[in-house]
């Protein structure tokens, strides 16, 4: 045995990750422990840094579109949507309604898919093994729709600046409605497994409480913020596409704990189905491309555009100098800023809760590190 071991120390410092089953990729959390109680955490990120923002400066606006899919690879459609909308805003282009509704349908499907991954992995982290297989089964149906639409399942590159590359295939509406009908009962199935499960409640109630003030101060957005009781959804507050024309509710939590965030996301999936149904109804014929040229050359200027991605506010700050290359593209990833709240949420809890809290924040490291 070596002379001095960690057993001599009063405080145990342990590295969770970068290779760890519950850190959703390559997150490394340095935990300071007293027994199993967490005294402090420090997130060490950047293991997946690819310099996406630098790449953007060396590509044209259109060429950069596929790259954004690789950030939050669990929600490529919304990532792409945020970027193309930001550039459209810079160009000052309106896109036709058919394209808008198509985007909304795909984005909401993506939200469902992303939440399904969250639910499965979150439950798996807490030790419930089965939901992950059910959620992946349903996610598969979403991916099939994506695949039939644009040929890709994961990094879809579904949208183009100015509209859509492809019009919808025959039977798209039917497939989407079929999925909605199929999916709603499945949410009940997940809830049967978890919502009233005493162990699940004990593992999530009062765990990782984030008050509304703390959440806002820490820049937390998305379901995590709503779980803390702040009724703020960019789709409602500053509608983009045609979100102002559809009806949906913004579910909020009360206590700001892990259980509330779970409920919020479950409710959001139902709302997404609701939005999808309305969009399909309004999906009239028409052009799918706005008035954008082959070469995208926005005027000099800068925009900040953000959308409600499944994980929170996804913002793009695009600076143009009037050339075909963006001068600067900044991505405001929801995961990064939500992850910053981990320390606040995890302090004083046990190791097992850290895992639950990482799960409830719903991070994707591709997006955190970019």
């Amino acid at each position: 045995m070596p002379e001095a071991t960690f057993l001599d120390a009063n405080e145990l410092v342990i590295n969770m990750g970068p290779q760890h089953p519950a850190t959703h990729g390559v997150l490394r959390v340095k935990l300071r422990l007293d027994g199993e109680r967490v005294l402090g955490t420090e997130c060490i990120i950047g293991y997946l840094h690819r310099g996406v923002e630098k790449i953007a400066e060396n590509r044209t606006y259109a060429q950069f579109t596929p790259y954004v899919d690789r950030m939050d690879y669990c929600a490529a459609v919304t990532n792409g949507m945020g970027y193309v909308e930001a550039v459209e805003k810079l160009l000052g282009v309106e896109i036709p309604p058919r394209a808008q509704y198509t985007r909304m349908i795909l984005a909401e499907l993506q939200r469902i898919a992303s939440h399904l991954i969250w639910l499965g992995t979150h439950a798996l982290d807490i030790g419930a093994m089965t939901p992950v297989f059910y959620t992946f089964r349903e996610r598969e149906e979403v991916l099939k729709i994506f695949e039939e639409y644009c040929g890709a399942r994961l990094t879809t590159h579904a949208f183009r600046i100015g509209g859509l590359q492809y019009d919808l295939y025959d039977g798209f509406e039917r497939n989407v409605v079929k999925f909605c009908d199929y999916f709603l009962p499945k949410i009940d199935e997940y809830e049967q497994l978890l919502t009233k499960n005493r162990i699940w409640i004990r593992r999530t109630r009062n765990i990782g409480i984030l008050s509304a003030e703390d959440a806002i101060a820490l820049g937390v957005t998305g379901p995590v913020l709503r779980g803390s009781g702040v009724k703020w959804d960019i789709r409602k507050a500053q509608p983009y596409e045609a979100y102002d024309k559809v009806e949906f509710d913004v579910p909020v939590g009360e206590h700001g704990d892990t259980y509330d965030r779970y409920l919020v996301r479950m409710a959001e999936m139902r709302q997404s189905v609701r939005i999808i149904r309305q969009c399909v109804e309004r999906l009239g014929p028409g052009p799918i491309f706005g008035k954008v040229g082959k070469v995208i050359k926005p005027p000099a200027g800068e925009v900040y555009h953000s959308i409600e991605a499944p994980k929170g506010e996804l913002g793009y700050y695009v600076v143009s100098d009037g050339t075909v290359n963006p001068y600067r593209v900044r991505v405001r990833p929801p995961s990064l800023l939500n992850l910053q709240a981990l320390d606040k949420m995890a302090r004083g809890h046990l190791i097992a809760d850290v895992v639950a809290i990482i799960g409830t924040i719903d991070i994707v490291l591709g997006e955190v590190d970019r």
Binding site: P21, G127, M129, F133, V355
Partner: protein, 404 residues
């Protein structure tokens, strides 16, 4: 020749015991290997997937492949580990798990030995298994294993108490520590202990899951928290030993539960002559297995699988015919019912795993110390009082009357 050999064996207790031990060891090892397969299959079907399908027809050779793989892997000893203890620890675990089988009566006519303190022996030896876990976790000189080991120690100690007290209730009714006597007593009373000690049964059931480190109490190896818990640093065959020990422990606690609460090798309603037709269940079971296997085979699109399953079905039919032969049928009764009950228990273990999230460490202790131990204690007191005044005499006579 064969006859004289048989006489020699029966006349030499040591040799007889050795042969029995070999049989039990081989059978239990096989069962454990296929328990893993069963777990994977059952979980798979509960989770909308197929489970192992590649190695052999329906993945039936998967345990063999797994075993070979683990045998061939490098046996890593981490730098800074306490080498001796590190090597010894898995052996302790598996040793404790297997030794217990010496005192378990698989049937009225088949057990390795019947010691008059059988239950104490079982409890004592199976508790030794914890040393394997603690030493393994500690000697790895690594954070996660240490945390896993500590959790395990706390968990086992607290749940052992609850389980032990639950079992004492049974002892009070049975008047004996010998496992064979306990079963015989249930036969004599004509009622399984589970109906006399329902609370004890439930407490034991929960404690058993905790003691075997199974979901929802699988904290010592909670994958998402502690990577692999106490065996994080183990690889190759030493890891396999831990793995086997865990599954063997599942079989052990199931055997104990069946023996103590569910009438061991007795068939349901053993005292009711009117239900004697139940003794033909083994034949039906084998025939049913044949039909099921045949159905699987016909469904399969792979020619080799089809032949294999047909042969397997034929084998089942042959077994059914063999079992139908009256002497064999009566000889096999005990082991069949024992096996069926244990299987039901194991299935329940797997079922829990598919259903429940994992308790947190402090919640687990909370459940153990604040609920299970007081309840077990209350149960013990009520049983003692009841037995003193009423139960021993009264129920026994009523039940004997019923069974007539």
């Amino acid at each position: 020749m064969a006859e004289s050999a048989f006489k020699f064996v029966t006349a030499t207790p040591l040799l007889l015991a050795l042969i029995k031990i070999l049989i039990v060891f081989a059978v239990v090892s096989g069962i454990v290997a296929y328990l893993v397969y069963m777990e994977r299959k059952v979980l798979a079907f509960m989770q909308a997937r197929l489970g192992p399908m590649r190695v052999g027809p329906w993945g039936l050779l998967q345990p063999v492949a797994d075993g070979l793989k683990l045998l061939l892997k490098e046996d890593i000893i981490p730098a800074g580990a306490d080498e001796w203890l590190f090597l010894l620890a898995p052996a302790i675990s598996i040793f404790a798990a297997f030794t217990v089988f010496a005192a378990i009566p698989f049937a009225g006519n088949f057990f390795v030995t019947d010691i008059n303190i059988g239950l104490l022996f079982i409890l004592g030896v199976s508790s030794l298994g914890i040393y394997g876990i603690i030493l393994g976790g500690w000697s790895s000189n690594s954070h996660y294993p240490l945390l896993g080991a500590l959790r395990s120690a706390a968990q086992l100690v607290s749940y052992e108490v609850a389980a032990g007290m639950a079992l004492v209730g049974v002892l009070l009714i049975s008047n004996s520590l010998s496992m064979v006597d306990i079963v015989n007593r249930q036969f004599g009373m004509g009622v399984w202990n589970v109906f006399l000690q329902p609370l004890a049964f439930i407490i034991y059931l929960i404690a058993a899951v905790a003691e075997t480190n199974r979901n929802p109490f699988d904290l010592p190896e909670a994958e998402s928290e502690l990577t692999a818990g106490f065996h994080t640093e183990y690889s190759g065959f030493r890891f396999a030993l831990y793995f086997m020990a865990e599954y063997t422990n599942m079989v052990v606690v199931s055997c104990i539960a069946v023996t103590l609460f569910l009438g061991g090798w007795l068939r349901p309603f053993a005292n009711f002559a009117a239900l004697d037709f139940l003794k033909f269940t083994p034949i039906v079971a084998f025939l049913g297995a044949a039909v099921f296997v045949l159905w699987l085979g016909l469904k399969s699109s792979i020619a080799l699988d089809r032949y294999f399953f047909m042969v397997l079905a034929a084998g089942c039919v042959v077994l059914a015919i063999l079992v139908a032969y009256p002497p064999v049928l009566s000889a096999i009764q005990g082991i069949f019912w024992f096996g069926a009950k244990v299987l039901a228990f194991l299935y329940a273990f797997i079922w829990y795993r598919a259903t429940f999230p994992r308790y947190r460490y402090d919640q687990l202790m909370d459940v153990g110390c604040r609920w299970m131990i007081p309840l077990a204690l209350a149960n013990l007191i009520v049983t003692a009082v009841g037995r003193y005044f009423w139960l021993s005499h009264h129920v026994a006579t009523t039940v004997t009357w019923l069974g007539r």
